[in-house]
Subunit: 587 residues, 2 copies
Amino acid sequence: MVSYIPPVQDMRFALDTMVGLDAIAALPGYEDASAELVDAVLEEAARLAAEVIAPVNQEGDRQGAVFENGVVRTPDAFKAAYAQYRDGGWNALPFDPDFGGQGLPWCVAMPVQEMWQSASMAFGLCPLLNQGAVELLHEHATEDIKQTYLPKIISGEWTGTMNLTEPQAGSDLAALRCRAERDGDTYRIRGQKVFITYGEHDLADNIVHMVLARLPDAPEGSKGISLFLVPKYLPNPDGSPGARNDVRCVSIEHKLGIHGSPTCVMAFGDTEGAVGWLIGEENRGLNAMFVMMNNARLSVGLQGVAIGERAYQQARDFAKERVQSRDLAGTAGPVTIVHHPDVRRMLLTMRAITEAGRALTYYAGGKLDVAKRTPDAAAKAAAQARVDLLTPVVKAWCSDAGVDIASLGVQVHGGMGYVEETGAAQHLRDARICPIYEGTNGIQAADLAFRKVMRDQGAAARTLFADMRADAAADGAGPAGAGLVAAVAALAEATAWMVAASPEDAAAAATPYLKLFGTVTGGWALARQAAEATARLAAGSGDAGFLKAKLATAQVYADAVLPQAAGLAQTAMAGARGLMDVPEDAL
Amino acid sequence: MVSYIPPVQDMRFALDTMVGLDAIAALPGYEDASAELVDAVLEEAARLAAEVIAPVNQEGDRQGAVFENGVVRTPDAFKAAYAQYRDGGWNALPFDPDFGGQGLPWCVAMPVQEMWQSASMAFGLCPLLNQGAVELLHEHATEDIKQTYLPKIISGEWTGTMNLTEPQAGSDLAALRCRAERDGDTYRIRGQKVFITYGEHDLADNIVHMVLARLPDAPEGSKGISLFLVPKYLPNPDGSPGARNDVRCVSIEHKLGIHGSPTCVMAFGDTEGAVGWLIGEENRGLNAMFVMMNNARLSVGLQGVAIGERAYQQARDFAKERVQSRDLAGTAGPVTIVHHPDVRRMLLTMRAITEAGRALTYYAGGKLDVAKRTPDAAAKAAAQARVDLLTPVVKAWCSDAGVDIASLGVQVHGGMGYVEETGAAQHLRDARICPIYEGTNGIQAADLAFRKVMRDQGAAARTLFADMRADAAADGAGPAGAGLVAAVAALAEATAWMVAASPEDAAAAATPYLKLFGTVTGGWALARQAAEATARLAAGSGDAGFLKAKLATAQVYADAVLPQAAGLAQTAMAGARGLMDVPEDAL
C-alpha cells in the first residue's frame, strides 16, 4: 500500500520546460549531460528509490534511530539501503570528477535528490548533509585536505555533517560560543552543538564534521566565526580512519518526525580538545558556510516537493481503492472515492502545487549550473541574481507546501489517515521539519525582503517579473497564463511597496510577501508548462494523457491557488499594522 | 513550561458580545444563568482545567492508552484527574436537573468544555462523547431507560460512547452492516465497529454504547438503521453493574495524536449476541443520531478553538522567554523573540483566528439555547436555522484553523518545536484529528452547500449576511468592519453562484466555499467585538489592556485573514473546472 514510483515523466518535463538540457550541455564541463544520459540516470535512480529506499521508510520511522552508551544505531533497514546507494556511486553524482565525482549538472542531481527524499526523507538527509560538506571543502579547503577527505566523502564511504547551531545560537549564529584554539598546525575545538543531523551514526566508516567556532582573539558577532573540519576518527597517513577524536554524541532528540534520522547533541573537546583543521580563512567561516547553505536551502525546498509527491501518490492510490458512497449521478452502489469532486479537488490541488514547486526548484537548479559554468560574465551575473532571488522562495514556499500537501494527504484518507500504520501521517510529521531547519521560513522571508529585494531596490525581482509577463502572454499558456497577469501585477505592486517600506513594516510583511512570491512564480512555472503541453498536443508529440493532465493541473492551480495573490499582496502591504502595539503582558 | 491558563476574560467577552447572558437568562429553565453564577462557574472550571487536567496532558501523550488482554488502560494520571472532574459534578453542567443535571445553558457549557479540551484533548474526549449519549437518551429513550442510565451517565460514574463507523461505512453510514435481532423485549447485536473513542477504558464503572445496527427486515440504505443501547455490564435491578455483556474491545489504534484516548475496534456479539435496547423507533436510528451529531460537531469546532488557544499560549510563553537576535532598532544585545515583527505576526494571527472561532462557536451555542427554550415559534425557527447553517462552518473552519494554528505554534518554537518534549508538536498531532472525525470537513462542506444553502435557495444565508452588513457598519467596528463589507459581498456572490450551481460544481466548490464562509463570519465576530471594545474604551469601563489587544487582533484579522475572501470566492466559483476530466490512470 505504501509505495512510491518516481514521477520521471514530470521530472523530465520540468527539465525540458524550465531548464533546457541543450543549454546545460553547452556549458563547459557539462558536455556529457545529453538527454540520453539524463534519461538513463533518472531511470536507474528511480529503480533504486522505488525498490530499495522507499521500502525502508516506514520501518525506519517505527524503529527510529536509537542512542545507547554513546552509540547511535540507525534503523536496521537503513544499513543495507545505504550500502546499495553508496556502492551504486549515487553519492558522487554532482561532484568534481577530479575527486571521484561524476560531474553532472545540479539540475540533473535535483530530480535524483528528489527521489531519495520522496523515498525516505529520514534516509535522504544523510546524503543531503554530506553534499554540504563536499561543497564547503571543495570551495575552501587546502589541496591536502581535499585529497584526504573529498574522495571518501564523495563516494559516501565517509559522511559529512554541518555543526552550526548551539543552544543559544539558532537563527542568530552571531551568538555562537564554541571555541577553537591554535595548537601547532591544527586547532583544538571545545563546545556543544545541538540539532546535528546524522552527527553520529553507523552507516559510514568515518564522520567528518564541519564546525563553526570562535578563536580566542576573534571579533565579536558574525565576523569572528571560523570554520573547522573535525573528523570523528583522525585519518592515518594511509588515509584510513585512525585514532578517535575528542568529539562524541551526548544524546539524540525525540522528534515529531524523521525518526530514522538521528538529531544529535554533540560535545566537542570534553577532555583534551577535538582536533580540527581550519577551512578557509580565520573569522571568515560564516561567509563560507552561507555559500554552501544557499544550495542546501534549495535542497530543503526540494524536500518539500518530494514529500508532496510521496503524499500525493499515497492519497491517490488510496482514493482509487477506497469505496464509499454513490457518486453524484446516483450510481446503484458506492464508488471509489476518486469519483467524488471534493476528493478530486484535494488530489489535484496536491498535484498542482507539487508540480509547480518541482518546476520552480529545477529552474533554480538550472540557473545555478549556468552561474557556476558559463564563461559569459553577464550571463553568469544574471543567473546568479536569479538563483539568489529564488533561493528563499524555493526553500520556504515549497517546504510550507510540503506540510500543506501532506496534511491534505491525511485528509483524503479520512480516519485511516490518522492511524500511523497507514503511513500518511508520517509524511506530515516528516514534512513539518522543512519549514524549520536550514534557516526557518521566517528567516527565508527576511532574506528575501531585505537582501534579495530591498537591497537592489527590486531590480532583480523586476527582471523576473518581465520574464513572467512574457510567458503569461505566450500561446497556449491558457488559464494559468491569464491568471498570471493579475498575479504578477499584485506581486509587482507589493514589491514596489516593499522597496519603500520601513524595516519594521518589511519585517512584518516578509512572510506573506514570500508566500505571494511563491504563489506567483509557481503559477508562472505551470503556465510555461501548459504552453509547452499545448504545443506538444497540437504537434501530436508526447504522451497525450500526461500532457492533458498537465493542462488540468495548470487549470486547478489557476483556480485554486493563483486567486490568493491579490489577498496576499494586501496582507503584505498592511506591514506591521496592529502587530507591535500590544504590550507584552497583554499578549 | 507547558501550562495553560483558561482565557476567562475573552470567554466572558465572547458571551457578552455574541450571546448576551441577559437574553439567555430570560429563557424558560435558564433563569439561574446570571452573570454572577456564570462567572463563578468559569472561575471554578478554570481552576480544575489549569491545575488538574492540563498537567496530565503531556504525560498522557507519552504514556498513551494501552491495550492488553482485552483490557484498556488509560494513562495513569488520567484516573485521578477524571475522579476530580466527576466528583466536582462537572459532567452534569448542561443536562436536565430531573436526572441530576445542573441545567445550565449550552452557551455556558461551551467555554467550560473549551477549557477541558484545551487542558487535554485526549482526556476531554471522554466527556465529549458522553454528552452525545446523554442527548440521545434524553430525547429518544423510554422513561425506564432514562431512569436507569441517565443519572449515572450524567454524573460521569458511567460513560457513553458512539458506535457508528464500520470498516466499509465511514462517511457513508448507509453502508453499515451491524445486525440486530429481536429477542423478547430486547435485541441481540452482532458486528464490528471501528474508531470507537473511549470504547473501552478504566475510568468508569460501566460503559454505555450507543450502537447503530440493522434489523433483519430493515429497508436497505440509511432508512433501515436503528439505534440501540448496549451496556458493557447489564444493570442489576438495583441499578448497579451486573453481568458482562457480549461486547469487547478487540484492539486499539496507534494514532498520530490524542494518544491518551483509546480508539477502539469493538466486537459485538461474538458469542451469544450483545444484549441491546432499542432507542427511539426501529429504522429511525440515523435521524436520532444526526440531531445529536450536530451538537457534537459544534463541540469538535470548539476543540479546534481549544487547541488553538493552548498552542497560542505555549508559543507566546516561549516567545517571551527565548532570546535570539537584536531587534530591528539595533539593540546592543539580543532580545526575546516576541520583539521580532515576524514572530508577532505569527502570535497575533494565531490569537486572532482563535478569538474569532471562539466567538463564532459561542454564538452558535447561544442560538442553540434559544432554539431549545424560546416559547416564540418564529424566534425558535430563526435560531434553529442559524444553528443549522453555522454548524458545518464551526466544525470545519475551526477545526482546520486548529491545525493551522498549532502548526504556527510549532514554527514559533523553531527547532525546539520539532522536539516532542517541548509539547508544541503534540498540539499539532492532537489537532489533526478534528478535521477528520464527527464527519470529515469534506462532509461538512457538502452539508453546508447542499443542505444548508442550496436547499432553501440561500434564504438562511442571506438573513445572516444582512446581520453581518449591519454589524460591519456599526460604530467602532473599525478595520474589521471595513474589511467585512467587501468580504460579505464576496460571500454573497459565491452564495448566489452556489444556489444556481450544478451538483458537480457545488460539490467541487463546497470546501473553498465553506472556508470563505468561515473566514467572513469569523471577521464578523471580531468586528462585533471590536465595536464593543471601542465602546467600552470610550466609556472607560473594563480592562483597557484587554480591550486594546482585542482591537489589535481585529486589525490583524482584517489584514491577514479577511483579504483571502475574494480569492476564495473566485476559487469556489470555478466549480469542478479541470477536476473531473483527468482519466483515473493519468492521475
